[in-house]
């Protein structure tokens, strides 16, 4: 009996010790090593990850994405209701929240932060109105997410209630409000010096902005008055150091001078695995790398069999295994498997030279006869969804040759590539491109990338009325379960029609020091240090 009791006590002691060990310890400075410096820190005008990762910690939005997913949770808004017609969103704001400059967070701040991005602002303040500054330049994300077509007006009903009236039903609207461009800034701080806010952001986030040494480091410090007392911040300070060279950044990690190494060389990952002082963290990215046909010209435009033959001729698995170096996942759909609405019932495109040859003959081009030499446009830069466009292209050309299709690689400098691709020139047959998602909504992939009937900005320009109507339905339905069904249908349709060949979703893997606790990578690539702490 005594023995049993002792054993129980011992077990209890171990469990308690474990619990104590796992409890976050406050204090310390975390140094984050990244590939480049931020461009600017006004969330409305930024477009790059290095800028957003600072905004992620200094500023907050009405709604936030949950850890490791894009499901929404309350942020600066405590709760919200959507009117039955789907055109009025009412947000109840958190009370007692203060900006880093000591001014209160309230409905007027929300009206100001988002209202300043509208082309023709229709706003209502509660009490004293803020003056809306002239736009420094078009707010890129607000324009790209078509917010002006969606938002009719923003009104402060009282000090802690904001009402958005919409021009149209737009299901992804709520998810859009979780993106960085919708962060709430301190109007007082902004109006004090509108030109300098971009280098001196003031928000409500877990960290305060302190100092920026251009091309070197950005220093943040703990916001001791952070509203969420249940969670962090635990770190006293966070430093974001720009170390452009991947291998040098890894050496800095190896010697313990930084805690986290962003975007390591693939060759350094096995080294990190062996290093007793390091650990690895992985997260499937919210992205897709694809190979598309030029849908503005024949034979690609209307010959489905030919498109399928090309898809079956390319050994995509070999490409993912060898060129993505273990950091990729073979894609069968055009949204990543981590996203809601993913249709797992869609079959994988089979790699089969025989079937490809048979389809090619059925399509009217037996052994490639009748097809001139085609061009395959390859991306000149590394992107998360395609680390080596040229290598991927070389592999594809070799695969196509096996079924008799002669293809030639074409590439341009990145800006030219993007510009010429948009023009859909006749000298382009196949092209590589891809996408990293913004808000975790399937619409942000399936409509933005493939519904050519919606806009001439859609890069693939596939025109299919059935698909277009599915996308319209998806946008106008607010019930998520119903929307998921719509998007599943769309994915099946894409498999049947094969307008674009899905290639890969990449995974990101970063090494970090063992003493860094509770650091998680997010599918949207945002970097959040709120819950991170350092074990001494």
């Amino acid at each position: 009996m005594l023995k049993k009791t002792l054993l129980c006590l011992a077990v209890l002691a171990v469990v308690c010790a474990g619990a104590v060990l796992a409890a976050p310890k406050p204090g310390g400075t975390l140094i984050f090593g990244r590939g480049g410096d931020s461009v600017g820190l006004d969330p409305a005008y930024e477009t790059d990850g290095n800028s957003f990762m600072i905004c992620d910690n200094v500023l907050e939005a009405l709604v936030e994405y949950k850890d490791e997913s894009t499901a929404l949770e309350p942020g600066l808004a405590e709760s919200w209701t959507i009117a039955p017609d789907g055109k009025t969103y009412t947000f109840k704001l958190r009370k007692g929240v203060k900006f880093h400059d000591g001014t209160p967070f309230n409905a007027n701040a929300v009206v100001f932060s988002l209202g300043r991005q509208m082309k023709e602002p229709k706003l209502k303040f509660s009490g004293k109105a803020w003056e809306i500054p002239a736009q420094e330049r078009p707010p890129e994300y607000w324009v790209s997410m078509e917010m002006d077509k969606t938002v009719e007006s923003i009104e402060a009903a009282d000090e802690h209630t904001v009402v958005f009236k919409l021009k149209r039903v737009d299901a992804p609207f709520l998810a859009n409000l979780g993106m960085d461009f919708a962060d709430i800034i301190s109007p007082t701080a902004f109006l004090k010096n509108p030109k300098e806010f971009v280098r001196n952001p003031v928000g409500t986030g877990p960290f305060k902005f302190v100092k920026w040494v251009k091309d070197d480091q950005i220093l943040l410090e703990k916001n001791t008055e952070y509203w969420d007392k249940k969670a962090g911040p635990y770190l006293d300070k966070a430093v974001f150091r720009a170390i452009p060279e991947n291998s040098v950044r890894f050496l800095e990690l190896k010697t313990g001078n930084i805690h986290i190494c962003q975007f390591p060389n693939a060759a350094d990952i096995p080294l990190a695995q062996k290093d007793p002082g390091m650990k690895l963290i992985s997260q499937p990215g919210m992205n897709i790398g694809y190979l598309s046909f030029n849908h503005t010209k024949e034979p690609w435009k209307s010959n489905t069999k030919l498109r399928k033959a090309v898809a079956q001729a390319i050994n995509r698995k070999a490409i993912v295994d060898n060129i993505y170096q273990g950091q990729g996942q073979l894609a069968k759909n055009h949204i990543p498997p981590i996203m809601w609405g993913y249709n797992d019932a869609v079959p994988q495109v089979e790699y089969s030279l025989d079937k490809a040859k048979a389809l090619l003959a059925e399509a009217g081009f037996p052994e490639g006869k009748g097809l001139d030499e085609i061009t395959l446009w390859c991306m000149p830069v590394a992107r998360p969804y395609n680390p080596e466009g040229l290598k991927v292209g070389v592999a594809m050309v070799a695969d196509l040759a096996k079924v008799g299709i002669r293809a030639r690689i074409v590439s341009f400098e990145w800006g030219t590539y993007l510009k010429r691709q948009r023009e859909q020139p006749p000298d382009m047959d196949l092209f590589q491109l891809g996408w990293t998602g913004d808000n975790g909504d399937p619409d942000n992939f399936l409509a933005v990338l493939y519904d050519g009937m919606a806009s001439s900005s859609v890069r693939t320009q596939w025109q299919n009325s059935e698909y277009h109507s599915l996308m319209e339905q998806g946008r106008q339905t607010t019930d998520q379960a119903k929307r998921a069904e719509i998007y599943k249908k769309a994915q099946q349709l894409m498999y049947d029609e094969m307008p674009v060949i899905p290639v890969a979703h990449s995974t990101q893997t970063w090494p970090l020091l063992k003493n860094v606790q509770d650091f998680k990578l997010h599918p949207t690539a945002s970097i959040r240090l709120k819950n991170v702490w350092l074990e001494k």
């Binding site: 461009v39 477009t47 324009v143 971009v198 030219t416 948009r422 900005s457």
Partner: protein, 334 residues
């Protein structure tokens, strides 16, 4: 002399005008578009159109050039496309870092290069001569990129003597006055920051100095050899002067002319070579900044940054010419 300097400064104006024309049109005729690069894959037609209009890229090229010149005349370098900061502010933040690095590298190359060159010349065909000239050959041939990484592996990772990258350790506070960290540390009497800044400077400066050291060494050697064969040196030796006096008082001064020219030109090369060094050592200077600007087609940074560097280069050359007169009284400036 004053008239000469004034004339040279006046020549600066047509020189810079020429540079501005070449840079502007080369840049704008090169494929690529900052708006496309800024917005990336997600750019909508509307966003692109808005941004191009905002940046004035939709105007005809000659109008854009005219606007650029108009700003220059009022000494306004404009705002960068990406960071929306005054170009002049960005230069002021980064230029001191590059100057600190290049001047240190230049001092290392002058000292080491001249010492090796003089010894090699006086002990021609000795083991030292062969070794130092072999070293010089290796110095010019080694890629900076590779050398920097090797230095890091040896001195930082294995020996732990020097920091890997950056200008100052995280946690070292320094009140920035001029952005020349060493100078700032001295002005504010901040001992720890001074030590830390110097400590960070050693490895990148040595890496950057390898090529100029090698060139200065070879130049000094050949120039010295030529002078040492002159009759007046024989006379000096025959007079019974000490070897030291012969070399430093009579030979070196005359041998220095081509060396000073080389050093002046090397300074420009250093500013260019700094791009690689700055990238590897995460040194926040102007080289890395310009490189990024080219990749991003930030026209404002490239145009104005290049003009600034070109202007500086011309002024340094002027300084070198004035220095000739000081070294050698036979050369007079009219």
């Amino acid at each position: 002399m004053a008239a000469y300097i004034l004339r040279r400064i006046l020549i600066l104006i047509p020189t810079l005008l020429g540079v501005s024309i070449i840079i502007f049109f080369m840049l704008h005729l090169t494929p690529g578009d900052p708006a496309e690069l800024l917005l990336g894959e997600r750019a909508s037609d509307e966003a692109l159109k808005n941004l191009r209009e905002h940046l004035g890229l939709n105007k005809p090229l000659y109008v854009q050039y005219g606007l650029f010149l108009k700003r220059l005349v009022t000494l306004d370098l404009g705002e960068t496309i990406w960071t929306r900061q005054k170009v002049w502010v960005e230069i002021r933040q980064r230029f001191p870092a590059t100057i600190e690095l290049s001047v240190t590298a230049l001092m290392i190359s002058c000292t080491l290069g001249m010492i090796f060159g003089i010894i090699s010349a006086t002990k021609q065909y000795s083991a030292f001569d062969y070794l130092s000239m072999l070293g010089a050959l290796a110095g010019v041939s080694m890629p900076i990129f590779w050398l920097g990484l090797v230095f890091m592996l040896i001195f930082s990772v294995n020996l732990g003597w020097l920091p890997i990258s950056g200008r100052l350790s995280v946690g070292v506070d320094l009140e920035v006055v001029t952005n020349f960290y060493i100078l700032d540390a001295v002005i504010t009497k901040n001992g720890p920051a001074l030590r830390d800044a110097l400590w960070h400077l050693i490895m990148p400066a040595f890496t950057l100095s390898t090529i100029p050291t090698a060139i200065v060494a070879r130049m000094t050697r050949s120039s010295m050899l030529e002078v040492l064969r002159q009759d007046y040196i024989k006379t000096a030796k025959a007079k019974g002067l000490s070897q030291f006096k012969v070399i430093f008082k009579h030979a070196l001064r005359n041998a220095l002319i081509p060396v000073v020219t080389t050093i002046g030109l090397q300074f420009g090369v250093l500013l260019g070579g700094a791009i690689l060094t700055e990238t590897i050592f995460a040194w926040p200077g102007v080289g890395k900044w310009m490189y990024d600007a080219v990749m991003q087609r930030d026209y404002m940074v490239i145009q104005n940054g290049t003009l600034f560097i070109a202007g500086l280069f011309v002024i340094i050359n002027l300084g070198v010419d004035v220095l000739y007169a000081l070294i050698n009284p036979r050369i007079s400036i009219k």
